[in-house]
Amino acid sequence: MANTNTSSSTKDLPNGSGMAAILAAGIGCAVLGLFSFLGDAFKGIGQFFIFYRPTGPLSGVTISTIVIWLAAWYVLAKRWDGRNVVVERVSLIAFGLLAVGLLFTFPPFMDLLQGK
């Protein structure tokens, strides 16, 4: 996905670190949606996500999401910092991941997948 673009001006900031942040945000949204769904659909996973009992499974879903989002951001930023990446392709993946996040946090969609 990453390629060096020699045609860009040396004065311009390469897009790598910005696109890393965007893709990581997409990953964070998708993980949030998937974890929300898994915690809701499977009792065992819901129990696993109880990191803080008063908040219930939401605590594990949100803490795990933040950890994965930040880890993904760190890894992508390390790989893409100072480089140019193909913006269209990365953006498209990020939008797809954002859509997953929005869809899987929508209760009627979760219920549909669970056959409720």
Binding site: D12, L13, N15, G18, C29, P54, S59, I66, L102
Partner: protein, 188 residues
């Protein structure tokens, strides 16, 4: 004039942090669109760039304060389990809503949606603030990146709208009450 501790903290979560964050969107969207619609050759005004950076950082702080206070302070009161056989469920909002087919939707759709989708906003806005902090108006040279950031900003706005609207309705039908009473003004 009195208010319970839980009421006060719920108001801080919803109105103090959440509503302020929601209000800030109009300014952020307008400023980002305006700043990034300028031609790449336009000379950036360093002062307005700094102002927008600070504004976005403030939004990020408000977004995180809203979701963390909601999930870890207010939500445990909302989902508290009543003692067995208790007839009056008014102090247990989730169970109160679930006790009637006329109100269960406020929980099964409203709270279930709100508690999860709200977290998209701080994740997205942290990214937006980072990109603006790093690139400023230089994003004009990366049109695709600019478009992606604006789409994530719009998604954060929608997520906040859903969470805020359901939060207001939920607090109307099943308010979180209780805790220590705080006297704000002494009566005559």
């Amino acid at each position: 004039m009195e208010i319970s501790m839980r009421d006060l903290l719920t108001v801080m979560h919803g109105m103090g942090f959440g509503a302020l964050f929601m209000l800030a969107f109009s300014g952020a969207i307008g400023e980002l669109y305006g700043a990034w619609s300028a031609t790449p050759q336009a000379t950036p005004d360093p002062r307005s760039q700094t102002m927008l950076r600070v504004y976005l950082a403030g939004m990020v702080a408000l977004a995180w304060l809203t979701v963390v206070s909601g999930a870890y302070i207010v939500y445990p009161w909302y989902r508290a389990i009543p003692p067995a056989g208790l007839a009056d469920l008014s102090g247990y909002p989730q169970k109160f809503l679930m006790s009637s087919p006329h109100t269960i939707g406020w929980h099964s759709l409203g709270m279930e949606w709100k508690e999860h989708v709200a977290w998209i906003a701080p994740i997205a806005m942290t990214m937006v603030a980072y990109v603006y902090w790093k690139y400023g108006r230089g994003v004009n040279k990366h049109r695709g990146m600019r478009r992606a950031v604006l789409i994530f900003t719009a998604a954060a706005f929608i997520a906040t709208g859903v969470a805020g609207a359901f939060g207001a309705f939920l607090n109307k039908y099943a308010p979180v009450r209780g805790g220590e009473t705080i006297q704000l003004i002494k009566g005559e």
